[in-house]
């Protein structure tokens, strides 16, 4: 009997460094102390409000796709990811499913003295959800939508990572590329990059 092998694929969410949110003019700013001040009819999901796409978010995600040696799609489109959760006011996330912005990228990493090519399945754009804050006694939960509609790219890797060490090196290299290209601030304590 052969021993089990470790196989790791990572799905990483990267917050784009834009001035405003992905479908409205609200500020894209980490602001946990003043809940629900960076909101408008669009990111509150008011019925009938029209999302208008942030050009800068598209440019930065194309930049991310090229930096990770991906193929940028000639035609890309939005899809609705439908699910119920209190921090998702429309009850769907505007995301990309059928036709992502970028596919077939890769990232070369150095890990344990060896060079390895990690495949990147796809990179797509989406909006972030809001945030729930729970009362410590468990009596109530509050919704903060400052973050709702903040632009994200989701970077999905192939299951090419063989050890936690490789996963760490993959993340570190990606973090370095995305921050040095001005795509993401990379402040993980503010949730700007998370698996």
């Amino acid at each position: 009997m052969t021993s089990p092998t470790t196989i790791i694929g990572l799905e990483v969410h990267v917050q784009l460094q834009t001035r405003t949110k992905i479908f409205c003019g609200c500020a894209n700013r980490f602001n946990p102390d003043e809940p629900n001040v960076q909101t408008c009819p669009v990111c509150l999901g008011l019925p009938g409000a029209l999302p208008v796409m942030n050009r800068r978010a598209l440019e930065l995600s194309v930049r991310a796709g090229l930096a990770l040696s991906g193929t940028i799609a000639g035609l890309t489109k939005w899809d609705r990811k439908q699910y119920y959760y209190p921090d998702l006011p429309k009850a769907y996330q505007i995301s990309q499913y059928e036709r992502p912005l970028c596919e077939n990228g890769h990232l070369k990493i150095e890990s344990g003295g060896k060079s390895k090519r990690i495949g990147i399945t796809r990179i797509h754009l989406e909006e972030d959800a809001g945030k729930l804050v729970h009362e410590e006694n468990g009596d109530a939960s509050y919704v903060d939508l400052n973050r709702a509609g903040v632009p994200l790219v989701e970077i999905v890797s192939e299951p090419d990572l063989g050890t936690p060490e490789e996963a760490k090196d993959y993340m570190k290299k990606k973090h370095a590329i995305l921050t040095s290209l001005g795509i993401c601030s990379g402040d993980m304590e503010k949730g700007h990059m998370f698996p």
Partner: protein, 277 residues
């Protein structure tokens, strides 16, 4: 409401259309809708020969009213010709996949958190959702949400929603071709005179089939207008529908005004012989 008032209202609506986009509508740069009186001979009407596909279901009194309305237009110099909209026979099937799918997605936000009524009767989040939605939506809305959720669900999406979107495109192309030849397309509003209150509420399929003439406008993205065109023997109103090409609302309302000036159906009141509704 007379046509002038209606036109002023329309200009107001058109003005709203040019405000910065905050809601879902199309804004056309540099366009303006103009007021104007109908001139003799400036309207070419088409009648859909495939409407006769509904021949068996088309009430003879409705047919007569529509023919009479077409004669009014002929009298004003309009050239009435038959057109072909071969995919219109799929409009009901297509619409009742697309519209419930969109409704099920669009109405999901009415979950009692931000939007919609929140029930007090719940134990936990999931039950709050289901009890809020279960008590606040009416039966027709629930029916459409369930139809739509089914059509969009994994494994059925391609066969239902995606297929319906393709048929929708074909319907739209039919109209694009037709509007190369005619300015306005005439049809009945419904296959029967207006139904009595509550008459079809227990029979949703019949209710949906009654939409056969009107929902193409929604699928193809066209402006349409219903205008009074007569009454059945027992006093129920019959409507004439006119459709125009996208953004040809001015032409559409002018054509409607032409009929209204020549007839007085819009001044008459239904009598509802027999029972009150």
């Amino acid at each position: 409401m007379n046509h002038l008032l209606r036109h002023l209202l329309y200009e107001h609506v058109a003005a709203c259309l040019l405000e910065p986009p905050q809601t879902t509508f199309v804004v056309r740069d540099g366009s303006w809708f103009y007021g104007g009186v109908a001139r003799r001979g400036d309207v070419f009407l088409g009648r859909n020969k495939f409407l006769d596909h509904f021949g068996d279901g088309l009430d003879p009194e409705v047919r007569e009213a529509v023919e009479r309305a077409l004669d009014v237009y002929r009298g004003l110099g309009a050239d009435v010709q038959e057109i072909e909209l071969p995919h219109s026979r799929f409009a009901v099937a297509c619409y009742y996949l697309v519209a419930p799918s969109e409704a099920s997605s669009n109405l999901a936000r009415y979950d009692g958190i931000h939007y919609g009524r929140r029930t007090d009767d719940h134990d936990g989040l999931v039950e709050m959702y289901s009890n809020s939605r279960g008590t606040a939506f009416g039966t027709e809305v629930k029916r459409r949400i369930m139809l739509g959720t089914y059509a969009l669900s994994a494994g059925y999406y391609d066969a239902y929603y995606l297929k319906a979107q393709k048929v929708r495109r074909l319907i739209r192309q039919d109209y694009s071709r037709a509007f190369a030849d005619v300015d306005v397309i005439a049809s009945p509003v419904a296959p029967t005179p207006a139904v009595r209150l509550g008459q079809l509420t227990d029979d949703p399929l019949q209710m949906y089939l009654a939409d056969a003439y009107t929902i193409s406008a929604n699928l193809a993205g066209l402006p349409g207008v219903s205008i009074p065109a007569g009454f059945s023997q027992d006093g129920r109103p019959i409507g004439l529908q006119l459709l125009a090409n996208s953004f040809a609302e001015d032409r559409l309302l002018r054509a409607a005004a032409m009929h209204e000036r020549e007839t007085d159906w819009h001044l008459a009141t239904p009598t509802f012989a027999g029972d009150a509704c």
